[in-house]
Subunit: 415 residues, 2 copies
């Protein structure tokens, strides 16, 4: 079963907002066996919307439309859908009552433009919007399903989870799609591909393997398509096991999670704690870690020691070390890691110091020079890197490499 997503709104095409809705919708359709064939973003333009709808209907069974349902003049999705279907409008009483309640609750006057939100095309079934005033709409037209929802993410998300997914399951006999993702670190895409070439050759035609590389990590994703979930799952598990065995120590997680989440999971199981001492990354590593629910079970906290004074006062780096070797040095990063372990009372620590740029470089220590240390009571690993790229890239690369080093240290640990 194939779907297409059409997002409507000038704000996407001028780059003012990133379309996060489509990825979210796709992630929620895949598990029920609906594949997204194409995602199309078009402007608030009648002709363009009509063309996009017709093209999508030529390729997919389900057309999901977000955006353009607001009360202002530039929102023309509803009008254009009615034109596309060749129908008039009806007033939906429940929607009108719902809109009136929302305005009454916040003591705002109910304007004519708000009342118009209850007008929907004659051929639609309303999908209630618990989080806003614009109703969602479900159409069944010439054997295709069209679903129109607001572009506001939390309004759309509630509709998809609460209404759209159950209705789609009831409307179609859906095929089964099983995904399995393995996260590997520290080996290149082409190197991995050669190592598992024979396993890839063996894959049956209904299982696909994709390589998804990103900054020192490669995700290997197996996707199986068919009818029998347990058979597909067994097949995917079999090939995943073969790949896991082959890639060995490069495996960081056997599920689709970011590296820092894999590390948090490992440390939580072992009951270990982590702290950070960041100079050039300025809190980025800590914020990567703490974006994950439950991180407080492992992560105690850390220092963003941008100034030398803070390196001394929070992390106990000695003034002598800073003076003799400088803030960006093996000696300083070693003392930062030791300080993060002892002063924050953590089992493991990450420490980084470097020159993220664009200023601050010297002939001896150019922009991109970075020292990273990862430490436990038993062992400290220190590496020097010279990263290219802009400031934000240097920061991201430092963070990923510190996580890869910590992952290795955890793998090597006997505990």
């Amino acid at each position: 079963m194939q779907a297409e997503i059409i997002t409507i709104g000038d704000e996407i095409l001028i780059g003012q907002i990133v379309d996060t809705n489509s990825a979210w919708i796709a992630r929620h359709l895949n598990p029920i066996g609906i594949r997204v064939k194409q995602i199309t973003s078009v402007s608030d333009d009648r002709d363009h919307i009509l063309k996009a709808l017709a093209e999508a209907a030529g390729r997919a069974d389900i057309i999901i439309i977000t955006g353009g349902l607001g009360p202002t003049k530039d929102d023309i999705t509803k009008k254009t859908l009615a034109e596309y279907f060749g129908v008039g409008f009806k007033e939906d009483e429940e929607t009108l009552a719902h809109v009136a309640r929302i305005f009454a609750r916040s003591n705002r006057p109910l304007l004519q433009s708000n009342k118009l939100q209850a007008l929907v095309p004659d051929n639609c079934e309303v999908i209630p919007n618990k989080n806003g005033t614009a109703p969602g709409m479900w159409f069944n037209h010439n054997g295709k399903i069209y679903i129109s929802m607001p572009g506001v993410p939390f309004e759309m998300m509630y509709m998809v989870e609460g209404e759209v997914i159950p209705r789609l399951k009831a409307s179609f006999k859906l095929p089964v799609i099983i995904h399995k993702t393995l996260l590997t670190v520290g080996e290149g895409e082409s190197f991995l591909a050669e190592r598992i070439a024979d396993i890839e050759e063996e894959l049956p035609p209904y299982i696909k393997l994709a390589y998804l590389p990103k900054l020192g990590q490669v995700r290997l994703r197996l996707s199986a398509y068919g009818d029998n979930a347990s058979v597909l799952q067994a097949d995917v598990d079999l090939f995943a096991a073969k790949i896991k065995q082959r890639v060995g120590a490069a495996l960081a997680a056997d599920e689709d999670i970011p590296l820092e989440k894999a590390i948090l999971n490992t440390m939580a199981v072992r009951g270990r704690t982590l702290s950070t001492a960041e100079s050039c990354t300025g809190g980025f590593i800590a914020s990567l870690i703490t974006q994950h629910a439950g991180s407080s079970a492992v992560f105690l906290g850390g220092a963003v020691s941008y100034s030398n004074q803070l390196k001394q006062s929070i992390l106990d780096v000695s003034a002598e070390t800073l003076k003799q070797y400088g803030a960006v040095s093996e000696q300083t990063v070693t003392e930062m890691a030791a300080g993060a372990l002892s002063k924050f009372n953590a089992d493991y620590a990450i420490a980084v110091t470097g020159i993220a740029g664009p200023g601050g470089g010297t002939a001896e220590k150019p922009v991109g020079t970075v020292w990273i240390a990862v430490a436990s009571a038993a062992k400290t690993t220190i590496k020097k890197f010279t990263f290219g790229g802009q400031r934000s890239q240097v920061i991201e690369r430092v963070a990923i490499n510190s996580l890869i080093m910590l992952n290795t240290l955890l793998n090597d640990a006997i505990d």
Copy 2:
């Protein structure tokens, strides 16, 4: 001049990654007078790519393609482009030398699949990729420009800024577009619109005003379209000055910069320093600040005091306070701010403590409960918030609101 963007890759259609490239590209094409007409995401599928290329060429003058250029089997963009243009392949010597250098530098063996990256369609001009092995490609075919780039954001970004934009400027006579953006904080979009309604009425037809709201901030963007850059600039400056005067204290910056950068600029001019004490935001505020070049002139550093122990040891929050009022309390955030000022020797401090969720909430302090303090030696401002939304939204809202509070404190300061 109209462009279309085609992003190629199954990972977008299954929702594994969000397509951030398209918005970034659109934002960089608009200032040189190129509008994006449609964004289309398709899978790594020959027929689908061929169809998308043909459809895009029917609508736009410039077709920008990202993704599917990796060295592995599922990357078929290059092969499909050659088929679309009806051409064979040539080896690009400079690309081969570049790829060989990259592998030599990192002591990795140069595999056959890597060598193949230097093969490009006969009719292409290579766009060098300084940050990776897959070359970009520029095609001129039947009066349309096709540009193919890797999907890896920093590889693509470097190509667009360094190569694609200059070449597009040289290839087309583009209209002049002058943008001027004012950043306002703390006032709603409709309220601002009423305040400047008469100025908006006065705008000539070739100057448009857009309201770009985002989390407590509204950007007002004036865009002038025409032929004469100096006339347009003078007109835009005139109206920008009128709006600035009218919005008064709500103005945070008269250029298109993020709020934290505006704050850094103000503090740098005044020679003031800043520190942070973050609990629930986990380093996110510090990382927002330190993403900006030159932030070290103002930002001394901070603490990510996730655990209560770190709140005590780094920030001098008293054990008594934590015990009596809890970590998420007015008393604790006050002591955190005071600690950040005194222990880090800063002129200004931001302190936040709260429950980002999804766990950790109670009836009395539900998920989303947050205390924020901003402080100088002269004054401390404290506010309690109850934010809705997911963990990442709570973290972002806390950060923005702490910056808005700091901006106000700086505006009120006499120094």
